[in-house]
């Protein structure tokens, strides 16, 4: 059961960590259902029940941190660039973008778009919206994105962004959900505005309870925003969410309790959407401290539990086994042929012996704030590890304050990642020496060198070899246990239709279910 206590604490870090995520890699696997595909129809009240939302939720885009505000935003604002269902970049408020050197980026801003207030959207609004996250005074979560930005200026209908160094991936950043285009006055946006250019106009909003929005009759996208009204409810209790869906109180819920998936499907009142991406659950070990500073200990632990069992029991099959590899099957250079690790107590014992130990006792701190089922996963690992002479004491810590007090503080804990579309990004964010979110504090010289080299390598074969070597290093010498890739699991009423492809970039069709889906 998920952390009803701390929707915010649970996911804030996730946002930050995967804030740069703009996965190109979503695989669409709506499991077990053949959706009646039809032409989108207009109409209906679309009610969404989410296991997120708090009374302290803010309108300020710099503080957006979880699925509720993200989805709420997707309904009422637009971004410069959208990630399409297939993972590619698609124009939104920026009609097109270009760079000659990778350091100066020119975004051509769409004309004829108006805010809900009727005010036309201009390049000035774009500059002000981006500047909100820039500068010392900013409290935005994505302030680091703008550290390399030296200048943002208007040039006619264009907005020109200048970086201090080339970055070919900069457009990806502009699709980030923190960066909506909001109306500005005198070069500043009002961070508490409800205005936007999006498909729905806010009628009422009670933080932590519900938001009601009506279709924007003047929405500039003709083929989007099919519902008459959107209602987004906070339903923190998993069982209450299920009940709400089953009794027809809502049409869509997130975070379906794995235990309930099969039962729910058998009821026939709704269907399960299970979307696989590169998101994965991890157990980082602090490589600086004993016993985790010995790779043999880390290997022993990696062989001491049953990955398939975790996929079966924690994800109820809605996911796939991972080989301690943060690069997912959807990535370009995914190393599928890497020697798989299976549950092998003897091998674990062998590595333990290599480390000069007969037995090992470690404490694994977990809370369901890390990911739904983290505590159960830890218990399962602990059970299996016993056969290898490894005692894992599961320390269930409070959800409240987990990311502040446990994560990157305790030597062995639970965590999760949303996955990254580009290998370099994943490694740079969490695996290179000294990276801010290198949660295992792992440091490997050859890995670091390979990472730099791969960035400038143009030969695809060599590049593939380099990335695969890095994956091998992380998997066999790294200090992070990655047992599984998890799917995004949603349940929707039978009356809801979705496009054939559902984005794997974030949950709820990249938050855009509100404007991409419709009632059959």
């Amino acid at each position: 059961m998920t952390n009803t206590m701390t929707p915010r604490g649970m996911t804030r870090r996730g946002m930050l960590k995967s804030g740069m995520a703009m996965t190109a890699a979503g695989l669409i696997l709506p499991t077990g259902m053949a959706m009646a595909q039809s032409e989108p129809k207009k109409g209906g009240v679309f009610r969404i029940g989410l296991g997120h939302g708090s009374t302290t939720d803010s309108y300020d885009p710099g503080l957006w941190d979880q699925l509720y505000v993200q989805t709420f935003a997707a309904a009422r604002v637009n971004y410069l660039i959208e990630i399409a269902a297939d993972g590619n970049l698609a124009p939104e408020l920026a009609e097109s973008w270009d760079s000659t050197d990778g350091a100066t980026w020119v975004f051509k801003i769409r004309e004829g778009v108006s805010f809900h207030s009727g005010k036309p959207m201009t390049p000035d609004d774009v500059v002000a919206s981006l500047n909100h996250h820039r500068g010392d005074a900013s409290t935005s979560a994505v302030k680091p994105f703008f550290d390399p930005v030296t200048d943002i200026k208007v040039d006619g209908q264009n907005v020109v962004v200048t970086l201090n160094a080339a970055n070919a991936d900069f457009p990806y950043l502009m699709s980030d959900y923190h960066l909506p285009i909001l109306p500005s006055a005198e070069g500043k946006i009002d961070p508490t505005t409800t205005d936007g250019t999006g498909g729905y106009i806010v009628e009422s909003y009670e933080p932590g309870v519900q938001a009601t929005m009506n279709r924007n009759p003047n929405y500039w996208k003709a083929d989007r925003a099919h519902f008459d009204q959107i209602i987004i409810l906070t339903i923190l209790d998993p069982a209450a969410r299920l009940n709400a869906l089953m009794t027809g109180e809502v049409d869509l819920i997130d975070q379906v309790d794995p235990a309930a998936i099969a039962l729910l499907e058998s009821r026939g009142v709704s269907k399960i959407l299970s979307v696989s991406g590169n998101a994965h659950y991890v157990f980082p070990m602090d490589a600086r401290t004993a016993p985790f500073n010995d790779n043999n200990v880390r290997l022993a632990l990696k062989y001491a539990f049953d990955r398939q069992e975790l996929v079966d029991k924690i994800l109820a099959g809605h996911g796939s086994v991972a080989n301690d590899n943060p690069i997912g099957p959807a990535n370009r250079y995914y190393f599928a042929e890497m020697e798989a690790k299976t549950y092998d107590p003897d091998k674990a014992k062998f590595h333990l012996k290599e480390a000069g130990m007969d037995t090992l006792e470690v404490t694994l701190s977990a809370a369901n704030a890390a990911f739904s089922g983290a505590v159960d996963a830890a218990v399962l690992m602990s059970e299996k590890a016993a056969a290898a002479g490894i005692t894992i004491n599961v320390d269930r810590v409070p959800d409240d304050g987990y990311w502040d007090n446990v994560w990157m503080k305790k030597p062995f804990c639970a965590s999760y990642w949303g996955g990254r579309p580009v290998e370099d990004q994943m490694f740079t964010t969490a695996y290179v020496s000294g990276a801010e979110w290198n949660e295992s504090f792992w440091s490997n010289e050859s890995f670091d060198k390979l990472l730099v080299a791969a960035r400038s390598e143009l030969d695809d074969t060599k590049r593939r070899e380099m990335y695969q070597e890095m994956q091998r290093l992380v998997s066999f010498e790294g200090s992070t246990i990655i047992p599984m890739y998890n799917n995004y699991v949603m349940a929707v009423a039978n009356s809801v239709s979705t496009p054939e492809k559902i984005s794997a970039n974030w949950n709820l069709d990249g938050f855009r279910c509100v404007e991409r889906w419709w009632f059959a």
């Binding site: 059961m1 069982a239 309930a260 039962l263 729910l264 029991k313 059970e383 810590v397 409070p398």
Partner: protein, 304 residues
């Protein structure tokens, strides 16, 4: 039909256990206590028998349980069939085993907590009633203030501050519960301190501790014991509510409250699994209260 059938089976079991319990107790009781058990109503003997069964199960858990407490034995949610007579839970652990160990942990922790709350609450409450005056006023004001804070939220605050080990869980719930015991003990003791024998003991020059321990406490036992039974049951509920909010007993320790919580979503589908631990709690609560009612009835001396 099934409901009717289960009601009949339930009633049948009730009488069976009740009669068996009374007979056994009557046979086992020392001679001068025999009349007490002979006059016992069926509900009370049922209650005592159930409590006895729970205690035996709790003490002998490792002997009775077919598997290890946290042992993962295979697939999750296996059906009710040998060797897993009550199936397996979501991690593939034997449900029957978890229930049996749950008796030990839940009852043990609940007992420790309640006992602590009672020692603390009743000693302070009696002391306040005995001393009276300003000390009583201030202590009672303070306890009143603490009682005005919703217990769940107060426990939550304290557990977040002090962490959630079994020890802190016991201490925190005991501290919160002790306020309620204090109030009861004080009001009961206020009825006792006016008795002549207390006056006699004071005039004799007895010390405070002896007055509490020998003169007042034995006479305050009946309502305190009654309250003990109820508080004891509420501790389960406290723990399960706290685990609802993520602060209960730590895994893989089996406890009924958390087990109900873990399987709660299944209730939505009419699944019986969560009913097992919940039923175990409910059965014990009802049993304890039957005994408490009987004791209260005896203490009140009201013959009906």
């Amino acid at each position: 039909m099934t409901i009717l059938l289960s009601i009949f089976i339930g009633l049948g079991l009730f009488f069976l256990v009740g009669f068996a319990g009374r007979t056994a107790l009557h046979a086992a009781a020392p001679a001068h206590h025999k009349p007490m058990f002979r006059d016992m109503p069926l509900t009370a003997s049922f209650g005592l028998a159930v409590i006895a069964i729970y205690v035996v199960v709790a003490i002998l858990a490792p002997v009775i349980a077919p598997f290890g407490e946290g042992q993962v034995l295979g697939a999750a949610y296996q059906p009710w069939a040998a060797p897993h007579y009550l199936g397996t839970d979501k991690l593939g652990r034997d449900m029957l085993t978890r229930l049996i160990y749950g008796a030990r942990n839940t009852v043990g922790i609940a007992f420790a907590t309640t006992a602590l709350a009672f020692v603390l609450g009743s000693v302070l409450g009696i002391w306040a009633a005995l001393v009276g005056g300003r000390l009583d006023q201030w202590m009672s004001r303070f306890v009143d203030a603490l009682m005005a804070i919703p217990a769940l939220i107060f426990s939550l605050l304290l557990l977040t501050i002090f962490g959630t080990s079994v020890l802190t869980l016991i201490l925190v719930i005991a501290a919160v519960d002790a306020t309620r015991v204090y109030r009861l003990a004080r009001s009961v003791a206020q009825g006792i301190v006016v008795m002549d024998y207390i006056e006699a003991a004071r005039l004799r020059g007895e010390g405070m501790w002896r007055l509490i321990r020998r003169e007042i406490l034995p006479n305050a036992m009946a309502p305190l014991v009654a309250e003990f039974g109820l508080r004891f049951c509420f501790v389960f509920l406290s723990i399960s509510a706290l685990s609802f909010l993520g602060l209960g007993i730590k895994p893989p320790t089996a406890d009924w409250g958390s087990m109900v919580r873990e399987n709660a979503t299944l209730i939505t589908f009419g699944d019986i699994t969560p009913l097992l631990p919940a039923g175990a709690i409910a059965l014990l609560t009802v049993a304890v209260n039957f005994v408490v009612d009987w004791q209260l009835h005896r203490a009140s001396g009201l013959k009906e």
